[in-house]
Subunit: 352 residues, 4 copies
Amino acid sequence: MSISGPPAETAERQAYYDKISKRNLNPLWSVMSAIITREPRSACVPHLWAFAEMKELLLEAGSLITAKEAERRVLMLENPGMPGQNRITTSLYAGLQLVLPGEVAPAHRHSQSAVRFVLDGAGAHTSVDGERTIMEVGDFVITPPRAWHDHGNHSDRPMIWLDGLDIPTVSFYDASFAESYPDDEQPVTRPVGHSLARFGANMLPVDYEAAQPSSPIFNYPYARTREALEAMRRQQEWDPCHGLKMRFVNPVDGGSPMPTMSAFMQLLPKDFATSAYRSTDATIFAVVEGHGTTTIDGQPFAWGPKDVFVAPSWKWVTHHAGEDAVIFSYSDRIAQQKLGLWREDRGNRVKE
Amino acid sequence: MSISGPPAETAERQAYYDKISKRNLNPLWSVMSAIITREPRSACVPHLWAFAEMKELLLEAGSLITAKEAERRVLMLENPGMPGQNRITTSLYAGLQLVLPGEVAPAHRHSQSAVRFVLDGAGAHTSVDGERTIMEVGDFVITPPRAWHDHGNHSDRPMIWLDGLDIPTVSFYDASFAESYPDDEQPVTRPVGHSLARFGANMLPVDYEAAQPSSPIFNYPYARTREALEAMRRQQEWDPCHGLKMRFVNPVDGGSPMPTMSAFMQLLPKDFATSAYRSTDATIFAVVEGHGTTTIDGQPFAWGPKDVFVAPSWKWVTHHAGEDAVIFSYSDRIAQQKLGLWREDRGNRVKE
Amino acid sequence: MSISGPPAETAERQAYYDKISKRNLNPLWSVMSAIITREPRSACVPHLWAFAEMKELLLEAGSLITAKEAERRVLMLENPGMPGQNRITTSLYAGLQLVLPGEVAPAHRHSQSAVRFVLDGAGAHTSVDGERTIMEVGDFVITPPRAWHDHGNHSDRPMIWLDGLDIPTVSFYDASFAESYPDDEQPVTRPVGHSLARFGANMLPVDYEAAQPSSPIFNYPYARTREALEAMRRQQEWDPCHGLKMRFVNPVDGGSPMPTMSAFMQLLPKDFATSAYRSTDATIFAVVEGHGTTTIDGQPFAWGPKDVFVAPSWKWVTHHAGEDAVIFSYSDRIAQQKLGLWREDRGNRVKE
Amino acid sequence: MSISGPPAETAERQAYYDKISKRNLNPLWSVMSAIITREPRSACVPHLWAFAEMKELLLEAGSLITAKEAERRVLMLENPGMPGQNRITTSLYAGLQLVLPGEVAPAHRHSQSAVRFVLDGAGAHTSVDGERTIMEVGDFVITPPRAWHDHGNHSDRPMIWLDGLDIPTVSFYDASFAESYPDDEQPVTRPVGHSLARFGANMLPVDYEAAQPSSPIFNYPYARTREALEAMRRQQEWDPCHGLKMRFVNPVDGGSPMPTMSAFMQLLPKDFATSAYRSTDATIFAVVEGHGTTTIDGQPFAWGPKDVFVAPSWKWVTHHAGEDAVIFSYSDRIAQQKLGLWREDRGNRVKE
């Protein structure tokens, strides 16, 4: 690339640019070094949202608007480097959703994929294509693209979860379709836990054919996830950059639970400090257990349970856990891998 | 989706929004119907760039700046609905590149994939990873991601081609890497035509393993493409929406030649009028032979050889050929398919 | 095909055949209808081995030879239609293995894949590549191709399991490699249950890459399998031909646990009678729970727990369960599917 | 494995064996070292069939029986180590087919895949699913599983080709289905060359979906193959074990043209001597051009144009070309690869 940036501009050239811009033409050479960059260089910045403050603001929203009127009572976490753009990274959206006791977030469906990561409360539910799941803290719940879904809360406490969607991705590809369900709630036709029992035991119905490129399991319960991490811990399978880190999997093909987003859970034991790591998938983290500090691009962020923070593409990240910590995360890694774009740097070597 | 748009805003709500926006939080409900749309709804509009005018402007650029100073002497075709954004659709870039006799467009490489579709002139060359190909009108040439490439013109005429790149896609995923080659031209280590002969005959070297997710053939010559279309014509395999339409293929896996873009060639016989068609992949067309008219979203565009036009996502498209016509096109279809987003509508049925 | 069989043979033709056979040539036309048959037509016949009798004979073997001297103290179940051929179907082998308290079946490895289905006893173990699993009745245990494995019994009871191997397949392809381990037992380097915890929770280690085309889980415990079947039962997802039937899955790719064999578990409720079914994969069944009758090619076989029976390719099969029954089975279905050969007939339709 | 072979047999043991054999049980330990072998160890032996002699015998068959009466007038090449088994390797069949001027080999279809490699004559044809191809020496023609096919000869010369089928494979899996067409010849509905033009130009019809796991191209003409080999030769891409060797490819997925067999063409320049090589896929070779010698398991076979020879699994093979030579070959490599069984040894390293 033209490292030194664009060629010198002269009056003659400028006159030419003015003339052609009326023809919907512009010179590549004036912008090439800005759009084909030597390294990732978006406006995305690191940031942390402290849960205590967000919960207070969410509860205030609870008195301003109902879940039904809002359709989804969600506060979007906007990246401070990209204000007004409804996104937390260049390709992904994050929000905090509140459902109060007795409320319903009405049924709809859309092209966008959604991750739900439960932060606070217990006992609310999400229904997906006729099946309801009860949500507990640490559960990883998905609502796949084009699946009817609604949320409700029959418990006596407010429930708050992190919503992770690919809204910017679907907008970018100009491929958004959405539809409301005629009623607030879709009918429930299968018992709670059915999908997990049917698809989660490393068996598949003998003639099962996936209708969608997404996981038929839509709640990966935290108890099971935690147990898997402990098993790895017993075996001391530490990765210097990640501690113990696993990705959630679609049991039908071993791929990502949804076609545009990857999701992960990692365990960092007390006093573990990771080696520097960077990758092209900007990542949103949500803390489940423990306190610690993550340093992103030289900037330290102290975190505790339920806090949410974001690391941009290709910025160095290190974690330090002050006590045993478990962190959930999601990113567009799977999309970048499919498109041949994903790259990581573990400090000493680049893997593409 | 909340079809009627956002809930009513009150002074109290507005005060709340002002307060939370300082915390990098914003209410989803105010924007939901705008970002999760019932149908695709970008700013992208249909447009046609007439070749005669563009050639004149390009030649004028030829006297303003050298290929070497510009690195690439390209006029970007900017979608009139998205001015200043260096893109022709939401996800793709298009430009017209001019290389004058004796010039070199210096060697570099980058994460971005590039399609080169030859419009005018004959005999210039592109070198990719040590092999040179001579470019003729109608040839479909690729420079895969991270492959060293340079262009030159040893002929006595200016050469103009259409550049199609995934620059907006790579920016969107914040995954751009680029590098200049130490010299203007990379050394040539293989004879002209080597890759096509080695990989184009429906055979592969016995132990071949692809190092990259892109085609090892980097010039699909027009003569061959034209002959394949004529064979289909003899068999009368007309598609009501497309005439005779084929996609270019990576011989290693039958997939797309590059991981983010699909490319096509179609033949419309004299007086053929296609049925209405729309799909979520906004498409850039470049005419090779013939005259005709394409109607996009109700707006007719008359075209002749070398003209370039764009159809946005999900707008109805019909073609009418006044004489035998051949049209090249490219889009992000393969990316959307990998991400589970692509959808088409052939008038009577939707296929996902 | 020449349905009426071979052409008439004349003395002249016979003389010719005699002459050419010395040249290692033979006329196709004399055998064509016998080797390219209108339907599957092997010598394989249906048969049932009653467990009570087999256990008695196995225990007698226990006093004739030690596991160590035998290397594997196994009685092969030979198909009565193919005596002396060490196989139960054309492509697969079955045997019953006995390990007495205190015994070790020494460590070795080979190209052959092995299914172990536990019929009787409790608490013996299999070690695979450094990890030991404790085996209980109904557990489905695998020893993948080329994995070091040994068996032992630290319990106070004899243990008997069904061995299912692809020995005829590997012989057919002439691709057998085998090796003894220097010691009777390989060292154990991971805790019991490690692989299941690490790979069985619908998560995979973030950078996991499978070294082999086989499942990293090597014990699919019966308790979990049984629970999955009960979940399906609650949802009444009956298949007329199979009752409730699931296939065991490699969590890495959703495919078969091993590259040459498929394995299944099915539940038939009391009084359920299946519709007629046939497929090209001859299948070995082993009863876990319940009594019932299976009719194969018109021949009824009454079965109870631990009995083993075989159904040949393309013979009609119906099951009737006298009480709630659970049946394990394995076949070469996955191999036939990869080779484009598998076909089934559900009475009214053929699916290929 | 028990390398020293089976344990000692005693009278007591023998009595036990006799008793259990009536129960369709046999001791594994008596045969284990014979069926789970340390290395491949089939009865298959190397052998060469000289074309001149075979042609004479074939022409004699031409006067004994018509193509119509024989349905296929083919002399099977039987491996001398496996007489009366209708196979040339453990898994594959080879035969030489003669079609005289004016004859028709009637239309049928079957589960078996067939390779046709043209040795002698010119201008006969094969029809596959409504399309006819004219066959010339060196052409690689396929008739995919379950595709209607018939052969005819409108030329004035006898035509002879090598048939390579997976008959033993389909028998082994007990999955043979076959059917006669009501007429001798199926109707021709597409022009000669249609499939190659439509599918052979590194393009596919835009919405093409393969109905079968086999190549839609059914004649890979020698002229094109030869040219590809010459291109590789110019680039000096020699493999020490193979000279220049390519595999035929299904353009739809880059895989094998048929699901059970791989096919190859290799060029050995004058005086080229290959390094020792062995692999688990026993291979049938047919010479197109040139003279040379191949040494298999220490045994030299001198060959010239149209000769056919076979190399068993895991026997060392070296070629020496006395003049520029081109050799076609086919084997079950693709099947073994799908089943995880294939292995090769290039003298210094084993690749699995």
